[in-house]
């Protein structure tokens, strides 16, 4: 099987490639490219099942929690081949596959790891309940209140923008346990089952008219103390592990797919003799974007190879986050202008320029807005005093 080749990277790549082609043939790519909403959930669940059958769902996890203990090189190869093969994406499992282990492995109890990690490896979908209506950029200002009642926390409050919360089985939840101390010091980190009584999810409509995030209303929700990650009032510290996992491998997968997309886009334009190919202004703009995207892939590889305590660690993820998300926005803006008027007609086609353009604004806001990233670059990276 594929994992047998883990010591020979070339053979490993070959095996992943063959398996990807056989399991998700590129000729069928339009099926998953077209899927939206619940259909997309089904496609991505199916793909994760297939990956699991051959040990490629969580191969980067430690062996004792259902992984194969593979290194970063393997992860890079996998993501690379999945992108090249036009296989279905795994965005829905971003929290499950990255945030959950990044939080539980260093901070969770043995019992939590044994319960939740294999479940995630088996396809459980998690969401993240950090942001609140009044606590976005100022996350530490969160107010959702948890009060201890014997061996349970009783939680009341409201979360917002929680991606895929309408499909999730568990939630990584930040709550306030001590309102009297400084805001960073009174936060606790909990695991919440989404089917607990008192949990209500209401989808929020995006600018595209679609919806894949929602508000979570919490009314007297009882969460066992056993579901606490770390000690009471250490939630802020624990959450830093969760947030750190948002940068890095995630960006890698997206950037690989974006480059595949741009290369295909250009090939198609040549094939169809698109009008914009004769326009010098657009020619130059395309080549600028093409160059910057390749540069981004280089930067992400540097980031991935860097040990977590490297001196640039504090700055590089933020640099990449801002560069990547703004580049993405510019690429779709380019595609809008290259297509002209027809880009303004509603088009259900995969990655229609206007749809992608509107979606791209989500990325410049989520996961720490680009303004907050710039503050981090200036303060942590460049050593400038806080404003």
């Amino acid at each position: 099987m594929i994992l047998e080749h883990k010591d020979d990277l070339k053979a490993f790549r070959e095996a992943v490639r063959t398996w990807t082609r056989e399991t998700a043939p590129p000729e069928r790519a339009h099926e998953w490219q077209r899927a939206k909403g619940p259909e997309l959930v089904e496609v991505q669940k199916w793909w994760m099942d297939e990956r699991r059958k051959v040990g490629l769902a969580t191969p980067h996890w430690p062996v004792e929690y259902g992984g194969a203990g593979l290194g970063l090189e393997h992860q890079i190869i996998m993501e690379d081949e999945f992108a090249r093969g036009h296989s279905p994406g795994s965005e829905m499992f971003v929290i499950s596959l990255n945030h959950v282990p990044a939080t539980l492995i260093p901070h969770g109890t043995e019992a939590q790891k044994k319960t939740y990690l294999p479940a995630v490896a088996a396809g459980a979908l998690w969401c993240q309940g950090f942001s609140e209506p009044a606590a976005g950029s100022d996350l530490a200002g969160l107010k959702t209140r948890a009060v201890l009642d014997d061996d349970h926390y009783v939680v009341n409050g409201q979360k917002i923008w929680s991606t895929n919360s309408m499909y999730a089985s568990q939630c990584l939840l930040l709550v306030r346990t001590d309102p009297a101390v400084k805001k960073h010091q009174g936060i606790t980190y909990l695991i919440m089952d989404m089917d607990t009584p008192g949990v209500e999810v209401r989808p929020i409509r995006k600018s595209t008219g679609g919806s894949n995030f929602g508000e979570i209303f919490l009314t007297d929700v009882r969460i066992p103390v056993a579901n606490r990650i770390g000690e009471e009032n250490t939630g802020w510290m624990v959450s830093q592990s969760t947030l750190a996992s948002e940068r890095g491998v995630l960006s890698f997968n997206y950037a690989e797919r974006d480059m595949m997309f741009l290369v295909d886009y250009y090939a198609k334009a040549r094939h169809e003799r698109a009008a914009w190919l004769d326009d010098p202004e657009l020619q130059r703009e395309f080549m600028t974007l093409f160059g910057e995207l390749q540069s981004l892939r280089q930067q992400i590889r540097v980031l991935l190879r860097e040990p977590a305590d490297a001196p640039t660690w504090s700055m590089l993820p933020s640099l990449i986050k801002v560069a990547k998300t703004t580049l993405n926005n510019r690429i779709h803006s380019f595609r809008i202008r290259a297509a002209g008027l027809s880009s303004q007609f509603i088009d259900p086609a995969w990655r229609a320029p206007m749809y992608e353009y509107l979606e791209s604004f989500g990325m410049t806001i989520s996961g720490g807005s680009n303004e907050i990233m710039r503050n981090l670059i200036a303060e942590r990276g460049l050593g400038m005093p806080r404003g």
């Binding site: 950029s137 100022d138 995006k206 600018s207 202008r337 509107l358």
Partner: protein, 377 residues
């Protein structure tokens, strides 16, 4: 072809008129009403059209002889800037621009009937969405009918009435009556829900009137009016969403202070207004030239549309970001504006093509020994 107009109101009167339009839109077409319109929960499109008719907005620019107020390009600018600021739905731009154009071109019948029907709100016009690039439709041997298809801006009448489309033909511009049989409009679903786009299908559609255009000047003038209206809409809308965003930034608290107090965001807000001010004054140049009958009007109008629609895209996009998460939602206003901005940018012709055309006009002026850069006294 001279597009000069009689200016009948002084500056104070114009300001009063602008305020009166703004007042109506603020009460009838506020954010809540527009959102309800997007969700098909009200009839804002037709109620606004009725109001516009009753208040004489549709005739603001037309010569007094045609039942208008005689405000010319100034009127187009003033009204469209306010409609843009409120993201008002409706086919105002094509109707206002075609009417204005018909009052200035000659050599055709039906002028009185057509303009009268516009002023009374009974007729709406549509124009080729890509007017500057539109290819002539086929004409019958006697020139009496046209056949072919074309994407048009406007069309579906906001109020019960008649729709006419201006279509290019070899000898000029034909006006076709949309009867639903020989000439049909099929709505195109577009991202911007505040405008109508349709595909016109003509098969031997009778020509109501023919505007001859041997030298292309008539078409250029229509293009200038549309350019000016789109530029005004863009400037007004950019300002509208920027002001709403600044209001939001004053009310939104993070880190125990209004986000409007962060210097990084204050500079961004200032930059928005620097961009808007630039385009507002470029538009002013175009308005003055059109109203003075200047031969440079076509050049300035095209530069104004290109610049203003790009600035509008920039401003609306930044307003999404300045709002944070709520800026990415359907419930808040920024998405309405970014969609309108992207459509404005695409309409008439690409901004690259408009600037190229403007350069051609500059070269022509220089070849004729004319300067294009005099400021009006």
């Amino acid at each position: 072809m001279s597009a000069g107009s009689e200016m009948v109101l002084d500056e104070a009167e114009l300001a009063t008129l602008r305020e009166s339009i703004a007042d109506v839109l603020t009460s009838e077409c506020d954010s809540r009403a527009v959102h309800a319109w997007l969700d098909r929960e009200n009839d804002l499109g037709s109620s606004l059209w009725r109001q516009a008719t009753d208040l004489g907005w549709l005739g603001l620019s037309l010569p007094e002889a045609d039942g208008g107020l005689g405000l010319g390009a100034r009127g187009l600018q003033l009204l469209n800037a306010e409609l843009g600021a409120h993201a008002a739905p409706g086919g105002f731009i094509p109707t206002l621009c075609v009417a204005q154009w018909l009052s200035h071109v000659s050599g055709f019948d039906q002028r009185e009937a057509l303009l009268g029907a516009v002023v009374s709100g009974e007729a709406a016009f549509a124009v080729p969405a890509l007017l500057e690039e539109a290819k002539p439709l086929a004409q019958s041997a006697d020139g009496g009918t046209v056949s072919g298809s074309l994407e048009v801006l406007g069309g579906v009448p906001e109020a019960a009435g008649t729709t006419y489309v201006v279509v290019p033909v070899a000898s000029g511009w034909a006006i076709v009556h949309v009867d639903g049989v020989a000439a049909r409009l099929d709505p195109i679903e577009a991202w911007d829900l505040t405008r109508n786009l349709s595909r016109l299908e003509c098969s031997n559609a009778p020509v109501v009137a023919l505007i001859p255009d041997g030298d292309g000047k008539a078409g250029a003038l229509l293009g200038s009016y549309v350019a000016l209206a789109l530029a005004a809409d863009s400037v007004g809308a950019a300002k509208g969403i920027a002001l709403r965003t600044i209001e939001y930034m004053k009310e939104r608290f993070q880190f125990d202070r209004p986000i409007a107090s962060f210097q990084a965001l204050r500079h961004r807000a200032a930059d928005l207004f620097i961009k808007i001010a630039t385009q507002e004054s470029l538009l002013e140049q175009a308005v003055q030239c059109l109203d003075n009958g200047s031969p440079d009007a076509d050049m300035w109008a095209r530069l104004a549309k290109a610049g203003a629609s790009e600035a509008f895209v920039f401003v609306a996009a930044d307003c999404i970001q300045l709002h944070g998460g709520v800026g990415h939602t359907w419930e808040y206003d920024p998405h309405i504006y970014i969609k309108r901005a992207r459509l404005n940018e695409a309409l008439l012709g690409s901004n690259r093509a408009l600037r190229e055309a403007a350069m051609g006009l500059l070269n022509q002026a220089l070849d004729e020994g004319r300067t294009t850069t005099e400021l009006n006294a």
